[in-house]
Subunit: 372 residues, 2 copies
C-alpha cells in the first residue's frame, strides 16, 4: 500500500508517518525520544509545565523530532475550585475503608495547590522565543487536545504557524474535524472511540454516548475534509496490519498510545502495568469511558470505583479536580498493589500492549509503511 | 489483497464474501434476493415467523443463497408480560400530546397479542423437514443473534450442522466469540460497536458501555480464535475501502446493513428514509445505542424520545415488549412525518446509506474482493 512520500512526513518533517501518543503521567521525554529515534514522532505531554521548563525541554531536544502536547480545556471559574461535598460524600465509604480522616480538608488543600493544566499565553511566548533561535530548522511540532486555544491565542499562533509551527489537534466527531480544518489545523488526529485515555471531545454538541469508532470516524472525516487534508488515525492501532487498515480507511498516518504503556521507557506505574498485563493475558478487555476519575471522559480499564459508582456520572467531579479527591485513596491502594482508584487508562485493543523497547514497537507498526 | 479462494465462500457456498445483514422490519426476502443475485449472501429476518411460513420461504428460495436469521433471546417469564406502570408513566406526557387516551389499556392489548420472536423447537423441525428434501444441495444457511438457542436445541441442530446447515452467530466481545467458537459455530460475525440495530450481546458479563469498535474487535477475535476460524466483520463497512480495511483487521468477509436501508428493495419507512437522508447530508451523525425503544440495546439515529428520556435507562422496557408501549405514538407521529418514537436504526458510518439498487451497492463493496 504505497503512500506518496507521505503527506504527514512532509508536513511534520519525519521519516515515518507514526506518532507516539502523548500520555500525561505515563510518558515523558524518554518515551518520546525512543519513539523518535526510529524516524517517527515522539510526543511529550507538556500540560502543567512551567514556561521556563518548556523552553529548556524544547532546546534540549532540537535534534529529535518531538511533538509538544498541550490540553486546551477552558479552566473552570475560581468559584468552582471548591471540593464538592456531595462527591466527597459518594467517596466517604472509600475514605473510611482506607483510613483517611478529614478527607474534605485534604481535598481542599490539593485544590489550593493545583497548577493550571491548560495552554496559556506564556506557553506561546516560550515557544516563540525558542523558535526564533531555530533558524533553518523544520517547524516545531505542537499538538492540542480538548480543542484549540482561545481564539486570540490561536490566531497569533496560526499567524506564524506555517514555517514556524506544525500543529495537530484531536477530533472525535466529523463536526470537530471540520471545525479544526476550517481553522487551518495542519494535522487532524481522528480519535476513534477505541482510544485509551482522555477523549478529545470539545464541541458543545459532542456527546460521550455518540463517540465514533475508528472504523466509522476516519473514512467520514476523510470524506468531509477532502483528499487534501492530513489525517492521523488513533484508536486500536497496534501492529502493521491495523496500521494498514487505518490507511485503507483514509488515514495518512497513525497515532499509537496503549501499545507503549508497558514499554521500558514509559512512566506507567507498577499497578497500571500489572492491570494491563492481566487484562491482556486474560482476554478480559473491560475498558470503559469514565468521567469519575479525572472529571472528563477517558477510556481505561474498569477499576473498583467505576464498577461500584458507575463509569459515567452527571454528578462526577469537575475537570481537572477529579484526581484531588482520589490521590490519598490511590496512594494507599497502590501501596498494597490495588488499582481501585487509579486511572488505568487503556485503549480497547490491548493485544499490542506488551513489554519491550518502545523503538521496537514503533518499527513493527511502521513496517506497514515500508513501501513509502 | 488476495484471499485464498475464500473460506467464507467455501463454508457458505457463495461467490462473494459479503452478507447482507438481516434487519427485522426493514428487510425481507426482496432485499435478500437482490443481494444474493450478486453472488453474495442475502439474509431474511425470520424472527416471529410461523414454522409453516418458514418452510414455504425456504422452499421458494432454494435457488437463491439466502441466510435465515433468528433471534435467540430467552423470552421473559409470563409474569413479566404486564405493562410497567412506571414506564407508562414516563411516557404519559407523549400519550397526552398525541391524544392517546387510556394508553395502559392499549399497551396491555398489544402485550396480549404479541407472538414469540425467538427461535424454537418448531422452527428447527420446519428447517429439518425442508432440508431433508434438499439432497445434494449446499447446506442451509442459518444465523443467530442474541446468542445461540438453548443447549438441547443447539446440540440437536449442531449434530446435523456440518452437511445440512452452516450456522453463524454474532459476537460483540472477545469472550462471546470464544463462546461461539467453542460451540462449533461455523461463522462468527464480529459486530463492532459501529453497527446499526440491535447489539447481539448475550453473555451476562457483556456490558453496553464496554462494546468494542470494529477496529478493536476483529483483530482481537482473530487472535483469540486463531487462523482457522471464519470471521465476518460487521459495523462501518460501506464500500470497497472499508471492506479491505476489515480484511486487514483479520476478517474473512463483511456484513453490511445500514448501506442497504435506503435501497429500493428495503422495507424502510418513509420517516426512517428521510431521517437517514438528512443525517447523511447534514453530516450530523448522531446515532447512539438505546434500550428504550425495544427493550434491548440497539444503535439508531437519535430521536426525540432518546433526547428527552436518555438513550440507555435501567428502568426501560423489557425486550421484546418495548414497541408495544410506542406503537400508537409512533403511528401518530409518523403520520405527520415525525420519527419522535420510531426505531431509526442506523450504524455510525452513514456515508454509504444512499438510494439505489441493493445489488449495485453489494457489487461496489464486493469489489474489494476482486482478486479472489
Amino acid at each position: 500500500m504505497p503512500l506518496l512520500r507521505n503527506r504527514l512526513c512532509g508536513l511534520a518533517h519525519c521519516a515515518l508517518p507514526l506518532i507516539g501518543a502523548p500520555m500525561l503521567g505515563y510518558s515523558d521525554v524518554s518515551l518520546a525520544r525512543a519513539v523518535a529515534s526510529t524516524g517517527a514522532i515522539g510526543s511529550v505531554p507538556c500540560s502543567g509545565m512551567a514556561p521556563g521548563q518548556l523552553c529548556t525541554l524544547v532546546q534540549d531536544n532540537v535534534e529529535h523530532r518531538l511533538c509538544y502536547n498541550f490540553f486546551c480545556h477552558r479552566p473552570p471559574p475560581a468559584s468552582m475550585a471548591r471540593p464538592s461535598s456531595s462527591w466527597v460524600g459518594h467517596l466517604a465509604k472509600y475514605y473510611a475503608e482506607e483510613g483517611i480522616a478529614n478527607p474534605a480538608d485534604a481535598v481542599q488543600k490539593r485544590f489550593a495547590a493545583l497548577r493550571p493544566t491548560h495552554f496559556t499565553e506564556e506557553h506561546l511566548e516560550a515557544l516563540l522565543a525558542v523558535q526564533a533561535g531555530l533558524k533553518g530548522r523544520p517547524p516545531l511540532l505542537l499538538s492540542f487536545h480538548f480543542g484549540l486555544p482561545p481564539d486570540a491565542l490561536w490566531e497569533r499562533l496560526r499567524a506564524v504557524a506555517g514555517p514556524a509551527f506544525c500543529v495537530s489537534c484531536s477530533a472525535t466527531t466529523v463536526e470537530e474535524a471540520v471545525y479544526l480544518h476550517q481553522r487551518h489545523v495542519d494535522i487532524v488526529v481522528c480519535q476513534g472511540a477505541e482510544a485509551g485515555g482522555h477523549r478529545g471531545l470539545f464541541l458543545p454538541g459532542s456527546r460521550v454516548e455518540e463517540q465514533l469508532g475508528t472504523f466509522a470516524l476516519v473514512p467520514q472525516v476523510r470524506a468531509a475534509l477532502g483528499a487534501g487534508a492530513c489525517l492521523v488515525a488513533a484508536g486500536g492501532i497496534v501492529d502493521a496490519a491495523t496500521a494498514r487498515a487505518a490507511v485503507e480507511l483514509g488515514a495518512d498516518g497513525v497515532q499509537v498510545g496503549t501499545s507503549f504503556l508497558r514499554s521500558a521507557e514509559a512512566k506507567t506505574s507498577l499497578v497500571h502495568r500489572a492491570a494491563l498485563r492481566d487484562a491482556r493475558e486474560s482476554g478480559a478487555l473491560t475498558t470503559s469511558i469514565t468521567n469519575i476519575l479525572s472529571g472528563r471522559p477517558a477510556r481505561g480499564l474498569r477499576n473498583r470505583l467505576m464498577a461500584e459508582l458507575g463509569s459515567m456520572r452527571a454528578d462526577g467531579p469537575t475537570y481537572p479536580f477529579g484526581p484531588a479527591y482520589l490521590l490519598d485513596l490511590r496512594q494507599r491502594a497502590e501501596a498494597s498493589g490495588r488499582g481501585d482508584y487509579s486511572q488505568l487508562w487503556a485503549g480497547q485493543n490491548l493485544r499490542g500492549c506488551t513489554e519491550g523497547p518502545a523503538a521496537d514497537k514503533a518499527k513493527a507498526i511502521a513496517a506497514a509503511f515500508a513501501n513509502l
